[in-house]
């Protein structure tokens, strides 16, 4: 068993004569919080889809949780969690029903489900809202619940696609508390965000420009390298040179 959650080498995705993802290579360690940054249209979503087993790469090699992205897509799906700003929970099911549903999807036994469910509800302080429809919860709570549900089956890696977009500053930080908690339990976090302060919370991060990974390091090291005071400046320095503007 290796200590890498994701190993990615020269991964490419071609749509016709358009290279959406251009030979990206990176490793993500187990238990690491890895920030996956890039401008709109830089190829983040395409890369993430390949890693989640939703589309085949054109060339290159990658393993996710030890499984090959070409041959073992089903095994990958069983061993990852996924959450995005757009897709999260069923609004017209209650909190309890959502937990039961997703637990069921990932094949948790009834006793596991019960135990996990109670633990999850307690950690989020949602005891009183158990039987409320998810649609009635404030956005911040929904996002926190969605994240907790995405890791209910203890996946090796969880992919978070802009999980905190539009969330208030306090809830945003509570969300990151959850992320740290999950990382402490050994779950690897792969996260995209447009908030540059959140980039600082990552152990390491990469910045994609025009389908390539142009920088990959710890936040501190990146700032030193680009003699920038904030991640914002690092990002700006890199992405300003982007040629591509189409999604």
């Amino acid at each position: 068993m290796t200590d890498k959650a994701i190993v990615c080498k020269d991964l490419c995705k071609q749509f016709g004569d358009f290279t959406a993802v251009n030979r990206i290579s990176f490793d993500v360690n187990k238990g690491e919080i890895y920030g996956f940054l890039g401008a709109n249209g830089a190829g983040k979503t395409t890369a993430m889809r390949m890693l989640c087993g939703l589309s085949y790469p054109t060339s290159g090699e990658a393993t996710v949780a030890g499984y090959n992205v070409y041959r073992q897509q089903e095994a990958i799906k069983r061993n990852i969690g996924y959450m995005s700003q757009k897709f999260s929970l069923y609004e017209n099911l209650t909190v309890r029903e959502n937990i039961r549903f997703y637990g069921g999807v990932y094949g948790l036994s009834d006793s596991q489900l019960k135990e996990k469910g109670v633990e999850l509800i307690e950690r989020l302080g949602l005891g009183k809202e158990m039987n409320k429809l998810v649609g009635e919860l404030p956005l911040g709570w929904k996002q926190k619940l969605a994240f907790s549900v995405a890791i209910i089956h203890q996946p090796t890696i969880v992919f978070l696609d802009e999980p905190t977009g539009g969330v208030d500053p306090v809830t945003r930080r509570q969300f990151w508390d959850l992320i740290y908690h999950a990382a402490d339990q050994g779950i690897t976090i792969f996260v995209t965000t447009h908030y540059m302060d959140e980039a600082e919370y990552c152990h390491r991060l990469s910045i994609m420009v025009d389908g390539r990974i142009d920088a990959l390091d710890t936040p501190a090291e990146l700032k030193r390298k680009y003699s920038a005071r904030t991640m914002d400046e690092v990002f700006y320095a890199l992405a300003r040179g982007a040629k591509r503007s189409a999604d």
Binding site: G38, A39, N40, G41, A42, P138, L139, G140, E162, G165, G166, V167, D168, P169, V170, T171, R173, W176, D177, Y180, D184, H194, Y195, M196, D197, E200, Y201, P219, A220, T230, M231, D232, F235, Y236, A239, R240, A242, R244, S245, A246, D247
Partner: protein, 308 residues
């Protein structure tokens, strides 16, 4: 010259009063001002925009745009404002040029008539003028939408979350554009969930759960931060968060980029040295504690705490 926008005790509820979207909101946007409405999703920003653009009637209160009543004079208002709704609101199956021409004609003008106003922005997307709007990138869509909202040279411009979901570079460009528009005398009301964009406005209103937390210039809002604020860091940030919170003199401590932002409970402002010792005892190395000026986000978090 009347104020560009005034709101007086505006309240709006949905579902027959069950859901309160905005409650007793009052503020004024002066002529030629760049005013920011800062708050998270669900705070009520879009509801306010829709009331001001005459798309919704308030349950209570009076609002005016360019001196016109939003309920009574809605037709006149519709002729003199530009509006960019929260979601991408162009025809995806029409090309860039077709969209622009359509909206120009809709407002009974031509692209040429006010070209000076949109030139800077339009030149950037002009190379793609035959491309369908649906095939543009996020940043370009946003520029096209802005052109379409500007093409009739409106007196007041309403931009509802124009930078949401847009990357940092495009956001910066967008704010530069707004600054130039402001210089041409257009009053702008813009909303955003990104607190760091607040500093780019002349005045801002912080809004949360349908209520205004504070209205002032960003500088004054920062000055109003009560007490002192410290930036703290050490080698192990996650552990630091837990340890600072357990320190007896801590009022609040939360992550802020590479630092924690920490405030002491009133009367214990001198405990910075104590904290450093406390943290040292808990095995932290490379401890830094430094007094800093608060940001709008710090003030927002502090006001949210009061609100609870």
């Amino acid at each position: 010259m009347p104020d560009a926008v005034t709101l007086e005790g505006i309240t709006k509820t949905y579902d027959k009063g069950k859901v309160v979207a905005v409650k007793d909101v009052s503020f004024t946007v002066k002529q030629g001002e760049l005013f920011g409405l800062i708050g998270p999703d669900g705070a009520g920003k879009s509801t306010l925009f829709r009331i001001l653009t005459t798309l919704l009637l308030p349950d209570a209160g009076v609002a005016t745009v360019a001196g016109l009543d939003t309920t009574r004079d809605f037709r006149k208002i519709r002729a003199c404002v530009g509006y960019m709704p929260g979601r991408f609101s162009l025809y995806q199956d029409l090309s860039v040029a077709e969209n622009l021409n359509f909206f120009a004609t809709l407002f009974d003008t031509t692209v040429e008539a006010n070209y000076a106003l949109i030139r800077d922005i339009y030149e950037q997307i002009k190379p793609f003028s035959t491309r369908r709007a649906g095939k543009l990138s996020g940043g370009m869509k946003q520029k096209l939408a802005l052109c379409c909202a500007l093409v009739h040279k409106p007196d007041v411009l309403f931009l509802d979350e124009p930078t949401t979901g847009v990357d940092a570079v495009s956001r910066k460009e967008f704010w530069d554009m707004l600054k130039r528009l402001k210089e041409q005398g257009i009053s702008i009301l813009v909303s955003t969930p990104y607190m760091d964009e607040a500093n780019l406005c002349e005045r801002i209103a912080l809004i949360q759960n349908g209520k205004i937390l504070s209205i002032d210039t960003p500088q004054q809002i920062i000055r109003d931060y009560p007490g002192k604020l410290y930036a703290v860091r050490s080698g192990s940030m996650h552990k630091l968060l837990a340890d600072t919170r357990s320190f007896p003199g801590t009022a609040s401590s939360y992550a802020f980029g590479q630092y924690l932002h920490l405030a002491f409970t009133p009367g214990r402002e001198g405990s910075a040295a104590n904290l450093e010792k406390y943290l040292g005892e808990r095995g932290h190395s490379g401890i830094e504690i430094e007094e800093i000026t608060a940001s709008v986000e710090d003030r927002f978090i502090q006001l949210m705490g009061n609100d609870r």
